[in-house]
């Protein structure tokens, strides 16, 4: 089921794009021109599908294999669309080259006073800039993000380019669809119109650089399961200066009708500010998303957590819904980076099917052989890993070396969404 949902995002996107290409395939003309036209439509279709995949709606995310899966395909489709759209004008010009090189250049020349050509260029340049800043990782996220959003504008201008060429069918409905998708994302999700109102009920310090924030719903609560994450935008309180934009936080406890909790480690500007958040601060919440820890196989469970990566496991342990024998291996750099250790000891003492192993690793990379049991003990296990990417990579490599199949390993890394 999980795999079916994950493949539905690319399958549906590619079916839409293939349909568009089939419809637009020109019957006559030079082959380069035919391919150029089809690539233009393929690029347009892929950009539209890519735009659809940034909608953050919990039900849609479940159908399409999760938000991370959707964002992964958003990036792949966007990149493929860019390459197709770069090739589009070049092939159209190439088709005219044998007839007249001068005409081939005039077809694309931005110096010709032609709105169809100008809008085509503007759309391509915006795409180029929008993607360029995405890869310019040295630029601050707050600068990169709005420029990346300009890609949405590039889609609309590209469609206007088609309208100006006299191609109004089916461009007008596609243009409307692109505006609708952009407005949906901007209003409902970025501005939080569709988000649920919450308030910070209490704050507990769980390590020198992490707090656990308890959020109480002011309306209908979101359905947050252990292993899931929610997008939270904290607004300003009496002393606290809000972060405004939404950040993903893993649920550390589902408190039912009373709300849920998240653990926040000081990693960036916003999360550093949250360390001094106070009760009463209003927040907007979207979600919950993700299926980490859902549907465990009937096999011994191994949970491998690094640092703040203990959060999803904590939520499931606190829920008391553990059905399988579980070994929790919790690793952290130093004792000051360890979260919830006392509570973990209490849970392990009270739940007979939980075995706890925790260790401070220091600055050196951990050798998985030091903490994982040997031989038969892990051969039939199912593994859930959450923590920094280097730690996850080291364990995944080690487990593959021990013959553990990929389908028995599940990852939740804290990459940017």
């Amino acid at each position: 089921m999980r795999n079916l949902a994950k493949s539905s995002a690319p399958v549906l996107s590619l079916a839409f794009v293939a349909g568009l290409a089939f419809w637009a395939y020109p019957e006559a003309g030079a082959p380069a021109r035919q391919i150029g036209i089809v690539l233009g439509w393929i690029g347009c279709g892929m950009l539209l599908a890519s735009l659809f995949l940034v909608l953050r709606e919990p039900r849609l995310a479940t159908l399409l294999g999760g938000l991370e899966n959707m964002y992964g395909w958003h990036h792949r489709l966007g990149m493929a669309a860019y390459v197709a759209l770069l090739a589009h004008p070049l092939l159209l010009a190439a088709a005219s080259l044998p007839k007249s090189p001068r005409e081939a250049w005039l077809l694309l020349s931005p110096f010709s006073e032609s709105w169809p050509v100008w809008t085509g260029w503007l759309s391509l340049i915006l795409l180029m800039a929008g993607l360029g800043v995405t890869f310019a990782t040295r630029l601050r996220y707050l600068i990169r993000r709005p420029i990346h959003a300009a890609l949405g504008l590039a889609v609309s201008i590209g469609l206007v380019h088609l309208l100006l060429l006299g191609i109004d069918e089916p461009v007008a409905p596609i243009l409307l669809a692109s505006f609708a998708l952009l407005a949906w994302r901007l209003l409902r999700e970025d501005w939080g119109v569709g988000a649920s109102p919450y308030v910070v009920r209490s704050v507990a310090r769980v390590s020198p650089n992490a707090v656990e924030v308890s959020l109480a719903p002011l309306g209908d609560p979101i359905a947050a399961e252990p292993g899931q994450f929610a997008l939270v935008a904290f607004q300003s309180g009496r002393r606290f200066k809000g972060c405004r934009e939404f950040h993903p936080f893993t649920v550390s406890s589902n408190d039912g009708a009373a709300g849920f909790r998240i653990a926040v480690k000081a990693l960036g500007d916003c999360t550093r500010r949250i360390q001094s958040i106070e009760p009463g601060v209003p927040a907007r919440v979207e979600g919950a998303f993700g299926d980490f820890l859902a549907d465990p196989a009937p096999a011994p469970q191994y949970w491998i957590a690094g640092g703040i990566g203990i959060t999803p496991f904590m939520a499931l342990l606190r829920s008391g819904r553990l059905k399988r024998p579980t070994t929790l291996i919790y690793l952290y750099r130093s004792e000051s980076d360890a979260l919830f250790v006392d509570e973990l000891h209490t849970i392990a003492a009270n739940q007979s099917n939980v075995r706890l192993l925790h260790r401070a690793t220091g600055d050196d990379p951990i050798d998985p052989a030091d903490v994982l049991p040997v031989g038969e003990a892990i051969a039939n296990g199912e593994f859930w890993l959450c923590g920094p990417p280097p730690m996850i990579d080291a364990f995944a490599r080690f487990l593959r070396g021990r013959g553990i199949a990929n389908r028995r390993m599940h990852f939740e890394d804290f990459g940017p969404l």
Binding site: P26, A28, G29, A30, R33, H75, R76, M79, Y82, V83, L86, L90, A93, A95, S96, L97, K99, S100, P101, R102, E103, A104, W105, L106, L107, L108, S109, S112, E113, S114, W115, P116, V117, M128, L131, G132, F135, L164, L165, G166, I167, E169
Partner: protein, 118 residues
């Protein structure tokens, strides 16, 4: 993905630059040279070329054989094909709600000029 972006962007600009150089150094079209007008045609003669496989049009006193251009026209084929064999100045000047074709289109059209209208 970063590599795909940089390689494709660089290749695009190199090819655009190449096309620009080739385009500028290419010989001018018939209309841009001082070549004399070869013939004059009446509207009756133009009307004899009214099919997509043999398509002449009279636009602003000049006659064009646009048969070779038809597959390249961006709109749906019937939009331009319905003007084959006709005086098409009005259609040319009202591409969209009163807006004429671009200067670029003018330059392209000159490449298909075969004579003047009698």
């Amino acid at each position: 993905m970063r590599n795909i972006y940089f390689v494709s962007t660089a290749a695009f600009w190199i090819l655009i630059g190449g096309l620009w150089l080739v385009g500028l150094s290419a010989p001018k079209t018939l209309a841009e040279t001082d070549a004399p007008v070869r013939k004059s045609y009446s509207l009756t003669e133009v009307a004899a070329h009214a099919s997509p496989t043999d398509c002449w049009m009279a636009i602003h006193g000049k006659v064009y054989d646009v048969t070779g251009y038809l597959p390249d026209h961006p709109s749906r084929p019937e939009v331009i094909e319905s003007w084959c064999g006709k005086e098409a100045s009005v259609a040319y000047d009202t591409k969209t709600k009163g807006r004429r074709h671009s200067d670029d289109a003018d330059r392209q059209l000159e490449g298909y000029w075969i004579g003047d209208l009698k």
